[in-house]
Symmetry: C2
Subunit: 289 residues, 2 copies
C-alpha cells in the first residue's frame, strides 16, 4: 500500500501529515477505507480515532467528520446570510460535498455550479463520506463541472454569480493559482452587483505571512474585503481564516436574513463573533480595511 | 540526552508528544534550551519553529510563546472582570508565570498566592521563559508556595479567596486530584462570598467525555457553574475549555468592570464571545446549567 514519497502503513496504522509549520502529525488510523492515486493527487479515506472518517489529499487532511460542519457552515452561511438573496452560487473545489450540502439548504438558490478539478475526489467522497454531501449531490439545481476553477471562472458570464465560494486546498498545492491577484480579478468580474466571494485562507497565527499576502492580493481588487475566523479542530491550526471580497455587501455587518434551520455551528451570534478582531488579530483588520 | 521512556533527540531535532487522542505530534525543535528531570517530572524548554519558546512537562506542551497570552488572559480576566473587586487571588499551578503576570495587572489585587508543586518549573521558566512571568515574579503582593495545591487549599481559611485560578496540567497527570469533586468542595469552602473558581478543562471536541465528567463533578458542588472557550493554537485542540464555579458571581453575564490595558486577546467582546454555545456545544450548556 505504501508508495513513493508516501507513508501510509496500514499495518502500523499510522499516516504522517507533514505539511505543517513547526510540527508533524502522525494520525492513528483505525481503519484505512480507501486509497488511490488519481490523475492529480493521492487520495485516502480513513477512520480516525475521535475525529471520525477523514479525507486526505496528498497526505494532508482535508475534512473530518468531527468538525467539518463548523468549516462548511461558516464558509457558506456567513456570505449567504449577509446577502439579501442568492440565486446563483458557484463553488470552486468542494469535491467532498460539505459546502454543497450547506448551499442547497437555502431555498432561494436556483443554480449551483460546482467546479472540481479531480473527478476522483467526488467519486470517493460520495462512496466513503456519504454524509458530507448527503442528498445534495442529487439536487436538481446542481451542475458539476470537472474542470480547473480558474479557467471555468474566466469563461463565466460577467456579473453572473451572487456568491463564489472557494473551498480549495492551500497555496502550494494544485489550488495555488486560486490565491492569485489574477484569480481575484476574474472572480470580481464574474460576481453580480451586491455579490460576495469567500475563500478558505489557512490560519492567522501559524500562517500569518501567507494570510497577509492573500489579503494584500484581495485588496488590490476588492475595495470591500476582509477576513473572519472560526474554530478549527481537525486541521490542528486553532483558528480557520476565511477571506472575503464583496461588491456592495458587507458580511462583517452581520446577517441580513435568517439562515436555514438545522445548523450546528452557524447562528447569528457566531456570525458576528467570527468578525471579532482582538488586538492580536488587529494586523488583519488594518490590512483588510 | 535521551532517557528511558523519552524521545528527545537533539540530533534529529524532534520531540514526540503522544498524549493526544487520535494523533501524535512530532515537534520540530530548532534548539533544545534546557532538559532536566525534576522530582516530579521531565522538563524541557525548546525553541520551536513559528511557536517560539515552549515548555514541555513529561513530553506534553504546556505553554508556547506564540499564543500563551490567549490562554492566560482568558483564564484570568474573565473571572476578574466579572467580579466587582478581587483582593485575594489564589493560583494553583501556573509555575510558568503567565497567569501570575495577568493577575498582577489588576491594581486592586492585594494578595496573590501561587501554589506550585514543582519548584523546578518556576526556576526553569524564570530562566528560560522570562517574558512569561515578566516582572510579576518580583511583585511584593506575591507569595510562592511549593506545595500540593489540594493540600494547600484544605488548610486555607474558609471564605478567603475572591478568585481561585487552577492553571494545572490535564487529568491523568500529577494534577489529577485537582479535577475531583472533593477538590471542588474544598475550593468552594475557601472561596469568599461572590468569589469565582476557574480551571482549564481540556477541549470540548477532542475531550468531550472528560469535560462532561469535570462539569458533572463541579455541578455537584457549585449551583452556579459553567464553561467557556477560547481558541487554542499550540495545544492543537482548536478550542480550549475553562470551567467555572461561583458563589454569587456570573462571568457568563459579561464583564462587570474594565480589565487592565494592554491585553492582546481579552476584550469585553471576546469575554462575551467566550460564552457562546452554538448547537454543537449545547450539551455543555445543558449539563452546566
Amino acid at each position: 500500500m505504501s508508495q513513493a514519497g508516501w507513508q501510509v502503513d496500514p499495518e502500523s496504522g499510522w499516516l504522517v501529515e507533514n505539511q505543517t509549520i513547526g510540527f508533524e502529525i502522525r494520525w492513528r488510523l483505525q481503519r484505512l477505507l480507501h486509497h488511490e492515486r488519481s490523475a492529480y493527487q493521492d487520495i485516502v479515506v480513513a477512520e480516525l480515532e475521535r475525529f471520525g472518517r477523514a479525507l486526505f489529499l496528498d497526505r494532508i487532511l482535508q475534512v473530518a467528520e468531527l468538525d467539518e460542519f463548523i468549516y462548511h457552515e461558516m464558509l457558506v452561511h456567513v456570505p449567504l446570510a449577509a446577502l439579501p438573496a442568492a440565486r446563483r452560487v458557484l463553488i470552486i473545489g468542494g469535491g467532498d460535498g460539505g459546502t454543497l450540502r450547506e448551499v442547497t439548504r437555502w431555498r432561494d438558490v436556483e443554480e449551483v455550479h460546482l467546479v472540481e478539478l479531480d473527478e476522483a475526489v467526488v467519486r470517493v467522497c460520495r462512496q466513503w463520506l456519504p454524509q458530507l454531501g448527503a442528498g445534495a449531490w442529487d439536487d436538481p439545481r446542481l451542475t458539476i463541472h470537472y474542470a480547473d476553477g480558474f479557467a471555468f471562472l474566466e469563461a463565466a458570464p460577467a456579473g453572473h454569480y451572487d456568491a463564489i465560494l472557494v473551498d480549495c486546498s492551500d497555496p502550494g498545492t494544485p489550488a495555488d493559482t486560486l490565491y492569485s491577484e489574477a484569480f481575484y480579478r476574474t472572480a470580481h468580474r464574474a460576481l453580480a452587483e451586491g455579490g460576495c466571494l469567500v475563500q478558505q485562507a489557512l490560519s492567522p497565527f501559524i500562517h500569518r505571512d501567507v494570510l497577509t499576502t492573500i489579503l494584500q492580493r484581495l485588496a488590490a481588487v476588492f475595495p470591500q474585503r476582509g477576513v473572519y475566523f472560526c474554530p478549527s479542530i481537525s486541521y490542528l491550526i486553532g483558528l480557520q481564516a476565511f477571506v472575503w471580497g464583496a461588491k456592495g455587501t458587507n458580511p462583517a455587518a452581520g446577517p441580513a436574513r435568517t439562515a436555514p434551520d438545522g445548523t450546528r455551528w452557524y447562528t447569528p451570534e457566531s456570525h458576528r463573533a467570527a468578525f471579532l478582531m482582538p488586538p492580536a488579530l488587529a494586523i488583519f483588520r488594518a490590512s483588510a480595511g
